[in-house]
């Protein structure tokens, strides 16, 4: 009884604030509903947000890291993969490691010290289910806990003000982008969103809406999302410069996502995080051609994107993080593919990296876990924590559960 009472009081505070917001929204559409207790953070937040931007690239399906960064000098690799090991055309980067041939467009970045490759990134007791492991990566949870919000979402909770502070280049919003109080926005086509939100009928509905009992319910969530959508749609539309980029991107969906990101970044939008995704890496069978095609899409698109940013002098303020939910088993399977594994490499691309090239050595191919997978040596959450504190210049506390050791790549 007592706690229910307290809840009512808290929601009363929210209601008043929301009413105020609704009144104001007719005048200043960019204003956004924020509870008072969050508002106190705002002054701090705006000072801290700065211009630094993070672009996340998710390789969905579990990219085979061992055939991406290849241990070309290791017999164990060739023995485990008699029909999958890559030796032809591989691009040697060091005495031990080299690129998959499809990564050749990234070679200049590697040579310029604008790419850092972190090997053996993972987490304790790895889960080999796609959606669960993806949830773990997106929520920054351990494998034994379930979090309902994503790490970027929690960053928004603390330091964001508007959904457009984090944008996903897709029709749907990933869990990574959903906070406890604030969600990012998915913008596959921001013009459509803008045209829809403009209807005067919606303005009337929003103006009449009052939130007496609904803030915790599904219906309250619908109204809240509607209000956020309207203000974000306006902002993105009004601030995006339509001037097309001169840089020619390859013709594929992923390239189009990065092209849109470049357009937003070069327009100076107040968006700190962009989320992109390339899927199809679940190569249980006939891996060779599939992975080569996907890695080509990835490397050509990223290369065009970086050049586009460089031409607009925005590369220096942009960091690109590439990850996959897991790597794949060291030993190939019978179908010329690989099964779900665990630890994998992570790419960090940016100017002024502290440790460019290879951040650490590849884990042993003889000392594998019970499933025959690579053992992790770096927790993915310490990669996140490092990016938050060293790049975004905010504390990882409250965003990444448990204190993480900071790394030295930026």
């Amino acid at each position: 009884m007592y706690s229910a009472h307290v809840n009512t009081r808290i929601s009363n505070v929210l209601i008043m604030d929301r009413r105020k917001f609704i009144k104001n929204s007719a005048l200043a559409s960019s204003l956004f509903f924020v509870p008072n207790f969050v508002k106190t953070f705002e002054t701090v937040a705006s000072e801290r947000l700065g211009y630094k931007r993070l672009v996340i690239v998710q390789l969905a399906g579990g990219n085979d890291g061992l055939n991406t960064i290849i241990p070309h000098n290791n017999d164990l690799y060739y023995n485990a993969r008699p029909r999958l090991a890559i030796s032809k055309d591989l691009i040697k980067l060091t005495d031990d490691l080299g690129f998959h041939p499809s990564l050749s467009p990234l070679r200049p970045l590697f040579d310029n010290g604008e790419l850092s490759i972190i090997n053996n990134v993972g987490y304790p007791n790895p889960v080999r289910s796609h959606f669960r492991s993806m949830d773990i990566w997106q929520t920054a949870s351990g494998s034994d806990e379930y979090l309902q919000s994503g790490w970027i979402g929690r960053y928004l909770d603390q330091y964001g003000k508007q959904p457009y502070n984090a944008m996903e280049m897709d029709e749907q919003l990933s869990l990574a982008m959903k906070g406890e109080h604030l969600n990012g926005i998915a913008t596959n086509d921001y013009k459509v969103l803008y045209n829809t939100a403009k209807d005067p009928y919606f303005k009337n509905v929003i103006n009449h809406y009052n939130d007496a009992h609904l803030s915790e319910h599904n219906l309250g969530y619908l109204y809240q999302t509607m209000i956020e959508a309207k203000s974000s749609a306006n902002y993105i539309f009004e601030n995006t410069k339509v001037k097309p980029s001169h840089k020619i991107y390859p013709q594929n969906k992923f390239a189009k996502q990065l092209k849109n990101v470049a357009q937003f970044i070069n327009s100076g939008l107040d968006t700190k995080v962009f989320y992109t995704s390339l899927s199809g890496f679940d190569t249980h069978a006939n891996q060779i051609n599939k992975q080569a095609r996907l890695l080509t899409h990835y490397s050509e698109s990223v290369s065009a994107f970086v050049q586009d940013l460089k031409q607009n002098d925005t590369f220096k303020d942009t960091l690109i993080l590439t990850f996959s939910e897991f790597g794949r088993r060291v030993k190939q399977n019978a179908a010329n593919g690989t099964d779900h594994g665990s630890a994998n490499n992570v790419f960090v691309i940016g100017k002024n990296l502290k440790t460019a090239g290879f951040y650490n050595k590849l884990a042993s191919l003889s000392d594998l876990d019970a499933n025959g997978d690579l053992k992790y040596s770096i927790d993915f959450r310490s990669v996140y924590a490092t990016i938050l504190s060293q790049w975004m210049e905010v504390s990882a506390e409250g965003i990444i559960p448990n204190q993480q050791k900071l790394l030295d790549f930026i």
Binding site: S129, Q172, L222, M226, A229, A233, H284, A285, A335
Partner: protein, 453 residues
């Protein structure tokens, strides 16, 4: 049964019910529920024209790469045709509850496949077992060509097991995560070795590739095959619990209620008969509790099919129906991953909410929600979209008028909206001009409450 209870039942077991139909319904709950099952006893498979595959042999595809490419391209189109056939089936079902269950199972035994023959066969298997014996259902799924391809059962061979199917069988199809060990996965994968299918999609058991050695699974040693593994899994009460929980969240309330789910588990564990479980749910008093009415967020398919139930509509371009599914985040036959669509709040973000709010007016009235809005917006709307409407549709308002003949315009909201309307929004609805029933219908469909069922 009250009007609200009847609508609640029909929104969960189907996609809503129109007022003219309600008047001819029996008054007692038991009879209404029983009719649902009687009406779904028949089984009508989806059957699109796949004759272009007749007479083609696997060897032909190897010998003639051009033919293979043509078949592949044709297949892509046929999948879209299947999608359209399924959506139309949902809009005009013969066996309403069976179709509703088929939709649920498609997001339980999630599968994605490119060969339209295997896709159609898989979809019809879901439909066939939708209200039947769950044990036979799981066994049939394990032998489906589409599933053997999707989760690599085909590549699962003696001495070279592929664990993909074994893992998802337990994690997603029967027990839930954490209810088994990694060892159980490895052992059961061996039991499913040798499963394969022929070119036409029939199941084949390849004895030479089957591992006949003993397996230790859930503490039982034996020379288990795949069916044995499924029997052992279903002997666990956890399986009945896992499915009951899923059915409860889907049909009753996204917030689980342990007491009710436990009661369902007892019913289901007895014989794993899906129909008996569903009958128990629909006859339970708690199913009709106020807290369960209008608390679900409609899936995109619920939303689109429900709208067409109220105002039947034809799309001039088949592809537009597909485009709407994509925009709303649920394209039938194209799930995001093996876990399927998450549902509930995950359907809604800034993009999808705006599309949902705008779509009824776009589909039914050239993009205008309020009939009496100033012309200024009308002009601007056309200027911005350059050309006409995004979708060319023909709404059948005459059918709507027939459905709602006996319903006064002021009562329309009790039929179009499930659950409570926000007080402020209700005030706004009161002041709207109600001279046109059609206009008011569109306005009701354009408030957030319409997203609930």
């Amino acid at each position: 049964m009250t009007q609200q209870e009847l609508q609640h039942l029909y929104w969960r077991a189907g996609f809503g019910i129109n007022p003219n139909r309600q008047t001819s319904m029996p008054k007692n709950r038991a009879q209404v529920v029983e009719d649902l099952f009687v009406d779904s006893q028949a089984y009508t498979p989806i059957d699109i024209d796949l004759s272009y595959l007749h007479g083609i042999k696997p060897i032909d595809l190897k010998t003639f790469p051009e033919l293979a490419e043509e078949i592949r391209k044709k297949g892509v189109k046929k999948i879209l045709e299947l999608n359209g056939a399924w959506v139309k089936r949902l809009m005009n079902p013969n066996e309403l509850l069976r179709e509703r269950m088929t939709l649920l199972w498609a997001n339980h035994f999630v599968c994605r496949e490119r060969n339209p023959l295997y896709v159609q066969q898989y979809n019809n298997t879901l439909r066939y077992f939708a209200l039947g014996d769950f044990k036979a259902f799981v066994k049939a799924i394990s032998k489906e060509a589409a599933m053997l391809r999707y989760l690599n059962g085909k590549q699962n061979r003696k001495n070279r097991p592929n664990e993909n199917f074994a893992r998802e069988l337990m994690e997603l199809f029967t027990l839930g995560e954490g209810e088994y060990s990694e060892k159980d996965i490895k052992e059961s994968a061996r039991a499913f070795t040798g499963y394969s299918h022929d070119f036409e999609g029939n199941f084949i058991f390849r004895k030479l590739q089957h591992d006949y050695e003993s397996k230790l699974f859930f503490n039982r040693i034996g020379k288990h095959d795949g069916d044995d593994i499924i029997d052992i899994i279903l002997a666990e009460k956890q399986c009945a619990q896992f499915i009951s929980d899923k059915i409860y969240r889907y049909f009753v309330n996204p917030k689980p209620n342990k007491k009710h789910i436990d009661a369902m588990t007892e019913v289901f564990f007895k014989d794993y008969n899906i129909e008996n479980l569903m009958r128990f749910v629909f006859l339970s008093d708690w199913f009709y509790d106020e807290e369960n009415i209008g608390t679900k967020i409609k899936s995109p398919i619920d939303y689109v099919v429900g709208m067409a139930k109220t105002v039947p509509v034809t799309f001039e371009k088949e592809k537009d129906l597909l485009k709407i599914q994509k925009l709303l985040g649920q394209t039938l036959l194209d799930p995001p991953n093996v876990a399927g669509w998450k549902g509930d709040k995950a359907w809604i973000d800034a993009n999808t909410i705006m599309i949902r709010l705008k779509l009824p007016s776009v589909v039914l009235n050239s993009g205008f929600i309020a009939f009496d809005e100033k012309d200024e917006f009308r002009k601007q709307f056309f200027k911005n979209t350059k050309r006409k409407r995004p979708f060319k549709t023909v709404p059948k308002w005459d059918v709507f008028e027939e459905h709602f003949k006996l319903t006064k315009t002021e009562q329309l909201q009790d039929h179009i909206i499930q659950g409570k309307i926000n007080k402020g929004t209700l005030d706004y609805l009161k002041i709207l001009n109600k001279s046109s029933k059609q206009a008011y219908c569109i306005q009701l469909m354009s408030i957030p409450e319409y997203q609930m069922c």
